[in-house]
Symmetry: C2
């Protein structure tokens, strides 16, 4: 029995490792087109910042260690040209054929092509090791003074953060009128105010189509990603409404014995029940684990996601989970929301304000999503909302959550509960 | 209609304020035996530390402000001598009678009497403003060098923390062999190691019955609390198996129209379904809010607690929630647990180790409790477990929680999920 995995990053290696743990005898081959595997790609901005010396610092397991400790055949520089499912073979770019009994497609995502609104000879992205290396070398050698970041999603914000840390003056351009892919003007105003306080220029909507008065020394294109589905699609695997590879809850594609996991695959939103595509490393790992287990013969299910994400930019942490108010409304919910600000611990412990927005369905009182902005504690708070969304809690149940309190770490009325109480009154 | 509330701290004022919000016409009288109301008593250690100038710094609302903004009649120095329920009156110590239609008992808790294992002329507690003031004055004037703290519950640990911060050499004495009221030797070893690294002596079990070689300049007695139930019991209200006042889920006692809330009242454990008594400010506020709502005519329920608590001592945060392994076993569960240590963020962001123990029922896989030790993020992690316990999640569901990841704030595999994965294997 041979399992072939296309892709040696988060999803692919989670799948291969899980399959190995379940079946010590399985013949497992991982094909990675690049020259490195197991790179924590989410760390690329911090390599550009200089916090990590080389991209190797982002590697969790080397190919050699994966071979030695997990008995995986890991091949780098192995670019797959085609999946020939009728004969259960993958064709490599050099002409070699590798047969499989089970196949896991973990081909990831690629950056969306960007049409620059102005000319700039130096354009970089932050989606691959090679691009990040090129950007860091440019920063080190050319000492640029002004940069434009195109796109105010989380990678755009991280790019702004690390360029600022490197002493570059940053201008953030976003064609939408809001940031982080949510139609949330309050969130956008908070993020904008915070960035501007650090001297970052923010141009949204029509402003991001104007011609800049001065040229930029470099551009970071961070306009989002697309699932890398070409191999799967050409082999006849069905794509879902999001454009990513469709799978069932066992991560199996429409091709029997062929699974997909990670940024190339669709997920299911646990709130709406509908397919979504939200590429994240955490999701990729979870999908990969399930795909690997199922490919190794164990019946497991991927339960879907609530879309938890977090970014830190210039000291402000921003967590998003579930649906924003406008998203909830366009999904057909009669939704209501509140947004509060409350101290994140006792005031005599240098409390910082935490902002919490909660969204709920009016008829049932069920929580639909949340947003948290603040300093420390933001990750924990967005994770509590994630757990509540996963459990399908109502605001009434959420308001009675037994949350930890001690003056140095948390206030007696956690901002989450302050928001829930306000929302309860609105639902009354 | 008059509502009388006995007690002007967390539960009493939450009740009174909630009743006022629901019924603007209600005649509401709050009787507080001390000379201050609305004191955040959990902050007393930090007043002793010197972080707050006067106990008034712990007051959320003054009596005057409660009267002006919430139309509450707040009487300080009003000690209730008896509740005469047949005539619906409370009798004050001076002989005055105050009639009521509805009564809320929020008399709180008092320190357990402590038999000192050695002589010391200076003994303090941390359970009242008066005691804390006396301790702080002693620290300011006598400049003591050596202190014993009796009891390694969370108040004992906080006492050790603030005495250490004031330059006092601390010896922590606990008659049990474990700390924080859990029969958990691994937790105890971690806490002990941490305290000893800061020069705090820790004496547990038999060691805490020996005679010390040198005398102490002061003792802080922190051997726990007892619910203050005398008024309720004398009036005929039923006490529960924990010794605290029994109520139904609407916080009503066995006396019709008489409610109890806060540290004097029993709660229900959401995991076992059984009565528990875990005095905490957060629980007091929630009970108070429900009691106030019900007394004002609205049908609300208190859903119980999972017993979330957290303490920070000398930079180490310790969060407990639900049942420990031994507690789960003595509650009759066939329980299993794992304990892991994992980095709390990406290693290139100065990750600190976080320790997570998860306890689950073998047969059903249901989570029963957890323990988290670490630096930042401990409160958030214990709160995620609290939400999962509240929802009755299994380990399988918990392991698929969609938790936030970004290198500066959280690792791609959160310590919670690392623990859950290990526990899943054990349950297999």
């Amino acid at each position: 029995m041979r399992l072939v995995v296309i892709g040696g990053m988060a999803a692919g290696l989670s799948a291969a490792s899980r399959a190995r743990r379940i079946d010590p005898k399985l013949d497992i081959v991982v094909l990675e087109k690049g020259d490195m595997v197991s790179v924590g790609l989410c760390g690329l901005p911090y390599y550009v910042e200089g916090r990590i010396g080389t991209p190797e610092g982002l590697v969790t397991y080397s190919a050699e260690r994966l071979t030695r400790e997990r008995n995986l055949q890991v091949r780098t520089g192995a670019r797959v040209a085609a999946i020939q499912h009728p004969s259960r073979q993958v064709l490599l770019a050099g002409g070699e054929r590798v047969g499989y009994d089970k196949l896991i497609i973990a081909t990831g995502a690629r950056p969306k092509p960007v049409a620059l609104p102005f000319d700039c000879p130096q354009v970089f992205s932050l989606y691959s090791v090679a691009e990040a290396r090129r950007l860091r070398e440019f920063l080190d050698s050319a000492r640029p003074r002004r940069a434009a970041v195109l796109g105010a999603g989380y990678i755009g914000l991280e790019a702004a953060d690390v360029l600022h840390a490197r002493g570059v003056r940053v201008s953030l351009w976003e064609r939408e009128e809001t940031v982080l892919g949510r139609r949330d003007y309050a969130l956008t105003a908070d993020v904008r105010d915070h960035l501007e306080a650090y001297g970052v220029e923010v141009r949204l909507g029509p402003q991001a189509r104007e011609v800049p008065s001065e040229p930029f020394d470099l551009v970071v294109a961070a306009a989002g990603m697309l699932p890398d589905v070409s191999l799967a699609a050409e082999a006849g695997a069905r794509l879902g409404p999001t454009g990513a590879i469709a799978t069932d809850e066992h991560m199996e594609t429409s091709l029997n014995g062929v699974y997909a996991a990670g940024d190339c695959a669709e997920s299911r939103c646990r709130i709406t029940g509908r397919p979504v595509w939200i590429p994240l490393g955490t999701t990729a790992n979870r999908m990969g684990r399930v795909a690997g287990a199922v490919a190794a013969g164990r019946r497991e299910r991927f339960l879907g996601i609530v879309g938890t994400s977090i970014v830190r930019v210039l000291g402000l942490s921003i967590g998003l989970v579930g649906l924003g108010l406008e998203e909830a409304q366009s999904e057909g919910f009669e939704a209501v929301s509140v947004r509060i600000q409350a101290p994140d611990r006792a005031k005599y412990f240098d409390a910082k304000p935490a902002t919490v927005e909660l969204v709920a369905e009016r008829r049932t009182g069920r929580l639909l999503g949340g947003t948290v902005l603040g300093a420390e504690g933001t990750a924990g708070r967005v994770n509590v909302i994630a757990a509540a969304l996963t459990a399908g809690m109502t605001v009434e149940e959420f308001e009675q959550l037994d949350l930890a309190y001690t003056p140095p770490l948390a206030p007696v009325a956690d901002p989450l509960l302050v928001a829930a109480r306000r929302l309860l009154r609105l639902l009354d």
